[in-house]
Symmetry: C2
Subunit: 164 residues, 2 copies
């Protein structure tokens, strides 16, 4: 991880930088169940869904990653958090996702969450699966052929959980 | 199942009848991850979330059940449907849930869905778990202590899937 990486809450003025990160990932359509043709407004509304806390990771003045943290469900299930993370393509392999995940675990615990759940980790995204496993997440469910990968066709998705 | 049970799309004028079904179940807080103190407006907005198709089951002129059908995710995951079902307390045990589930499987298939997933079947709701299993759903995930049951404390929730 870069020693100059900092993670802070997103400001409204970060929308352009967030969209520059979301756009290539959503357009590729390989890791999120979001339409590849999603508009900027729709994508930002999804990332900033009411109830989401949104953060950005900055390195040397550039925003290189973003994540959201939210309660996965309401009522009797609102002690379980959920997050989505995204790293700028040109910042991959520098530990940004790991740093954001570690940050999110701390933030979630500070907000009183008891566990964190990822609902839809696409099995072909092996790098992410391994990273989450190395961060203490376990696969608790496998959703058969739940995702149509643009190159690989139908692939499974995992539900992953860890306690905080 | 009652021979006079019919299932039809919900009309806006069905909101009062739908709320009479939702209210006692949400207030009990034992089967849905929704705040027990949820307001009528909030509950109906949840049930009628944009993108949900909402149906009601009628028997002898009375609405005895309701369900929604939707895509569980978007983009590359939008071939998997999701439903939520609810039966009026005084109509339990008459096959209304089973009839609505059968109806929803047909409706989902007609809309082009390839599978149906339930994201959060609370393990203590054994009647529902058995019913969904008898309708062809398999438990594909177990979410440990994902739900705080008002009487039982922390209970697991299941992810259940079947193909269409």
């Amino acid at each position: 991880m870069s020693p100059t990486l900092t993670i802070r809450p997103a400001a409204p003025t970060d929308d352009d930088a967030i969209w520059r990160i979301l756009e290539p990932t959503f357009r590729a359509g390989e890791t999120y169940p979001i339409p590849r043709e999603v508009s900027r407004a729709d994508a930002l509304a999804y990332w900033r869904t009411p109830g989401n806390w949104v953060f950005v990771a900055e390195d040397g003045g550039a925003i290189v990653g973003t994540y959201y943290l939210r309660a996965n469900t309401r009522g009797g299930g609102d002690h379980v958090a959920n997050c989505g993370y995204m790293v700028a393509p040109d910042a991959m392999g520098r530990g940004v996702a790991r740093a954001m995940c570690a940050h999110s675990l701390t933030e979630a615990k500070a907000r009183g969450f008891a566990a964190m759940q990822f609902n839809f980790v696409i099995a072909s995204n092996e790098r992410a699966v391994r990273l989450w496993q190395s961060m203490g997440f376990e696969i608790v469910g496998r959703l058969p052929a739940a995702f149509r990968h643009p190159r690989l066709g139908p692939v499974d998705a995992f539900v992953m959980v860890r306690t905080l």
